[in-house]
Symmetry: C2
Subunit: 531 residues, 2 copies
Amino acid sequence: MRMLTAAMLLATVSVSATAADTSMLNKIVDQAMNHGEVVENTAYLTDRIGGRLTNSPAMRAAEKWTQDKFRAWGLKNVHAEPFDFGRGWWIESASAKMIAPRPILLRSIPVAWTPATTGTISAPVIVAPISDEDHFDEWRGKLQGKIVLVSYPEDPADATDAAFRRYESSDISAMDTYEQPTTNQDGLKRRVKRRAFPMKLDAFLKAEGAIAWARMAYRNDGLVHGTGYAYGVGETPSLPGVEIAAEDYRRLARLAKTGPVTLELNSNVHFDDSDTNAYNIFAEIPGTDPKAGYVMAGAHLDSWVAADGAADNAAGSAVVMEAARILSSLGVKPKRTIRFALWSGEEQGLHGSLAYIDRHLAKRPAAVGEMAAAGRYGALYNYPVTPLPGFKDLIAYFNMDNGGGKLRGVYAEGNFAAVPVLKDWFGPLSSLGASSVVAAPTSGTDHVGMAAIGLPAFQFIQDPLDYDSTVHHSAVDTFDHLRPQDLRQAAAVMASVLLSAADSDKVIPRNVLPTQPKDSNPFEYDNPEED
Amino acid sequence: MRMLTAAMLLATVSVSATAADTSMLNKIVDQAMNHGEVVENTAYLTDRIGGRLTNSPAMRAAEKWTQDKFRAWGLKNVHAEPFDFGRGWWIESASAKMIAPRPILLRSIPVAWTPATTGTISAPVIVAPISDEDHFDEWRGKLQGKIVLVSYPEDPADATDAAFRRYESSDISAMDTYEQPTTNQDGLKRRVKRRAFPMKLDAFLKAEGAIAWARMAYRNDGLVHGTGYAYGVGETPSLPGVEIAAEDYRRLARLAKTGPVTLELNSNVHFDDSDTNAYNIFAEIPGTDPKAGYVMAGAHLDSWVAADGAADNAAGSAVVMEAARILSSLGVKPKRTIRFALWSGEEQGLHGSLAYIDRHLAKRPAAVGEMAAAGRYGALYNYPVTPLPGFKDLIAYFNMDNGGGKLRGVYAEGNFAAVPVLKDWFGPLSSLGASSVVAAPTSGTDHVGMAAIGLPAFQFIQDPLDYDSTVHHSAVDTFDHLRPQDLRQAAAVMASVLLSAADSDKVIPRNVLPTQPKDSNPFEYDNPEED
């Protein structure tokens, strides 16, 4: 009897909480869809502030503006939390022109954190595809006084897939398969190489007397990106580097096959070392039960600068802000604290969210040797994990960083046992098209570090729109590639889920605290045929 | 007996000719695929010469280079045939920058045949969508000193179709339906308006004290086009006009909704009135029978200048040249003359091919009144047609102007009775994928004028690739969007078909000599709801 009474009591509380939430969910949706500010705030971050490279003046403006907004909306504990990062860098103006055999302006962008040209420089080009140290010998003695075209001018692929799409139900069902979480060694190696190799290349080119280098954009149709990773103090390369649109680069390469080609570069870029810390921005709605822990939603506020960082990730940032605004304006009093996070340094290796882990959640052995070149990311899969006191307080983290598309549900990120609880929280959102819960893990953004240490950290499923095909990191990552109704829906979903999670009596089962996994194939040999 | 003998003699000749052709077809394919120059020549026209606006210095260079090539290959009667056109115009350099609220370089291009800015100009923008004279009143008194954004900043559509595709057999089968040829009044009205309205707009903007205007690119993803039609002597507008990429234009428009926006333009363009004639280029392989008439293949050599005019239409031009080179190098002795034509002024209204008709094929009543604003195109469907002596000599014309994609066969262009003969000529090309003959008519290029007066003028069916979606008239109409094997195949097909047609004993049945058609719906009323 007593046991029954206790169970009944719990059931009563649960029903009561659910009833309250359900009414509040209607208010949230009304706020998001009919009285929202997410569209205007996304436009402010993109059109007015523009691309927000970590530690650039534009990112500093965004850090200030977002805090001002949170405070104006009545959020609590609004603050910026520093972490060491590196140099600020920004483009004042830049151009690349072919001046011989005929004059044309090329579509181009300076590679992030490469130095300025000394005014306008011009020189003959040489096409010297170099993607590895093994290639240096072939070009030794041939680069003096040249602008070196370092990319292989690969032919374009046939664009046989639609650029823009939304998920069918079957696409989402296909994601609901359990995959053994891996330590993603490929991603790790790629990040090691993308920081380490450019420095070796710069030293080689400098030693050979080259005066600048250019690479080919990895997308076609005139798009440029400008991503670069030499952001550390003391890591700045010697030579200016520029990315040229694929069509323009291939034309240079073809012309250079049959005659001299002269390029003129002007890269009027600036470094800013006034503060080498980057900053994560936080805001909260305090919970009524100080011992109940917190739930958190986050998105990275930093971006690349070929355009305005709209889908990647003003959209996610503005949706996190809008969820905060909605819940604050509705005066919710959740049991758990709801924390809103805007990360910095994501584009250079998840720095903001990993710095948050280091400070609040858990320690891991530092990256050593080659891995150190991947920055904080190099320690991502270092074990054992040593939880900090705050480890237990994080009840759930939701990340938004897959563009501006409508939210369709959530990835359980390999936390198999979390699925029923997530279904409970996302269930009411089925008429918003956002109730899918799938087991699959995802990678490449700010929940990854938390998931890697067994914390309940999840990414939203989003309609892709033209994120992967066209806008991700590119010169058309602009506001107009977003869809206003999708942003409003995302804010409604995020606010609803945060409130459900903050009030829920259910607890997400923790994943195992990972240790170094065994080799997946203990019988493997090295294959000398593989690169 | 005598009759039988005559028929047998004819049959013998025919079989003998067919046998000779078939052997020659293998040589043609070998020349095209294994020893061809079409790829190098397309690259020369695009990479080295670049965009070839009618009467521009680059077009003049192309006119000379193509004739030099024809002569070097041993073609006969190589010459340039003048027709009156208008001014030369070219871009030395140009830029558009937003300077407030923040500085960014925009993707832009001066609109063809608009005047230069006086150095660098800057002014506040006003978004004043004007697409018709009816809209002038709304903006009167508001444009003084402004750069006027004249396009409505329409939201982008979802890009749910693949950019690149090849035809399935079913796509081609669907084209094989007879359609009543029309006098294409919609196309005619569009052409009238695209020449006449910009002049009225320019006069209005000038009278209102605006200093320049900008329009939005009609494609997304940063592409610009720069098409313009005020090419006539005495038609040059007063104000500089610029096309701005859709993403950049929409950003300007959004910002202008909530604050001042300042634009800086520099349009360093030049007019060249040294010769207001445009020139079609011709070359021939003379026929052995002077009374047998001629067959002809053609493509327009002129292009727009946002890029290099590769798919539109260096590809077609280089394939026509390559067919000439192949047939000349193989020493063919066709019964009929084979003429190769490279048209000019196509992009401004099929001027070159229509001038050819006026001079060699037939007379039509001149365009009058409003229709005169469409240039020669305005007389396209004026009847009655009065054949010139050369009318009967044109046995067949084949046009290539649907990009660089593989040839798949031919449109019979509504000449229903021509299908069996075309099948005879294209039949041997089935293993090259080019033997489809379909009845449907096509529009918008240089065979149209001939087809409109009942001549046997046909366009090739081509795999679309990314022609319509991406490259047509755009800033990425570059060589690398072509496919080398497709160009080689096209040259093989064109040379084969020309030779078959030049030697054929079959004659294409002429279409009827058109007269003014009856209204398709004699019971129609004007609907006042329609625009």
